[in-house]
């Protein structure tokens, strides 16, 4: 498999590898994929009070493009709002990394991962928001 230089760069020097405490309220975790399919991504975001993603970590079991897609994604989501992060499209990732057609599913998985992480964070805070609304009234 001939990979682009960008994939090789992320593969050789993956950014933001790690794990955050998923019980922490400021952390949203998205885990997608399945071992049987050959790729599993865990993407975690740390969100500050202003709703901005201030840190992101990942671990990925999968091929080179899966690792590169998730590594790139952690760079992209930092500093963005939840809505901005959740609107990242797999095609942007695939284009940036010049993924070959058979590897497009890796970028789809990355998109799923960030959406899942945002969803997880929001689910944790759904109760707070309702409380906040109640207080506001």
């Amino acid at each position: 498999m001939a990979y682009s230089d960008k994939v090789m760069d992320h593969y050789d020097n993956p950014r933001n590898v790690g794990k955050m405490d998923d019980m922490d309220d400021s952390v949203g975790t998205g885990m997608v994929g399945a071992p049987a399919c050959g790729d599993v991504m865990r993407l975690q975001i740390k969100v500050n009070d202003a709703g901005i993603i201030e840190d992101a970590k990942f671990k990925t079991y999968g091929c080179g493009s899966a690792i590169a897609s998730s590594s790139l994604l952690t760079e992209w989501v930092k500093g963005r709002t939840l809505d901005e992060a959740a609107s990242i499209k797999n095609t942007e990732i695939a284009e940036e990394l010049a993924l070959p057609p058979v590897k497009i599913h890796c970028s789809v998985l990355a998109e799923d991962a960030i959406k899942a992480a945002v969803k997880d964070f929001r689910a944790k805070h759904a109760a707070d928001q309702q409380t906040a609304v109640a207080v506001g009234e």
Binding site: M1, Y3, Y11, P14, V17, K19, M31, V32, G33, A34, P35, A36, C37, G38, D39, V40, M41, R42, K59, T60, Y61, G62, C63, G64, A66, I67, V102, H105, V108, L109, D112
Partner: protein, 404 residues
Amino acid sequence: MKLPIYFDYAATTPVDPRVAQKMSECLLAEGNFGNPASRSHKYGWEAEEAVELARRQVADLVNADPREIVWTSGATESDNLAIKGVAHFYKNKGKHLITSRIEHKAVLDTCRHLEREGFEVTYLEPGSDGIVTPEQVAAAIREDTVLVSIMHVNNEIGVINDIAAIGEVCRAKKVFFHVDAAQSAGKIDIDLEAMKVDLMSFSAHKIYGPKGVGALYVRRKPRIRLEAQIHGGGHERGMRSGTLATHQLVGMGEACRIAKAEMHEEQIRIGALRERLWQGLQDIEEIHVNGSFDKRVSGWLNVSFNYVEGESLIMSLSDLAVSSGSACTSASLEPSYVLRALGLNDEMAHSSLRFSVGRFTSEEDVDYALAKIHLAVNKLRELSPLWDMYKDGVDLTKIEWAAH
């Protein structure tokens, strides 16, 4: 040290310099370039002599009669000729064939083709050690069975089937027996005078001969007949037409001569290299050998590194030429059907690497590989969420994964 280091002798081998020398003598105007079928002049006679010497060298390697060797373009063609040739010739006798799930695609796809023509095929399941037993074959033979086709050595895991015993079963039940020996000839002893095998496929490029040439052994006593698959000038007693490629055949003959002369010594050396590799991997947690460890050809090792995906492992091992059972290295995105048939789950199949050492591998090569493998596995496990979970004591089989 030449990088990447070649650890894929199961896929193909470089041509031995002695073989290349013999081949080069059969190409140019001043060499032995004639058409072996030319009966009217010296060029033809000399080419024929070279081809017949090569035929004897192939026959000698497996203790057969040279008249039982039919030249082909490789083991794939030999498998096709053997299976379709018998099925078509004896179709009035019966239309049932038996093979195994872990045969080479040249056998499996040929069987699929025959199924479309109205034949019935039974696919035997090997044990988790990758072995098909004579008892399984005996139990599957029916009144209308005409052919059993079982490989000698599996190309992915290197496990050896007891073809002598399977041959006894087939002969007793009067069923023809074909063996794909592409991966065994020249590595382990084959005695076709003793073994009750009717057809056997060979390939030159697995034993330091050239690509594009192989042979099919077709037993004379008791006689077996085949319907030709390639028609033309009636070469090879009508079983396989086409001008004989003198240089290719001479190359295969020389490769077989060398194999016969050096096989035993070479296998000991190669076995020691494989053992060195295996010992060096012992300190890595969660690794598993695929297929029987004892019943295997000496130079091969197929290992799964749990919680690490095979293709990314291969990327990290760019200094080593190895192959993987991972889906990501195949065009089909399916993990190895051979490993699946052994009962491995998809994860373990995705995590597998096949190392095969050979004639030109050194101890230094193996040591270099071991250092690289340790680094790569450590790096990828650091990156693997599954490794984290395993280390945290999470049972991965209990998680509901969303397949995609």
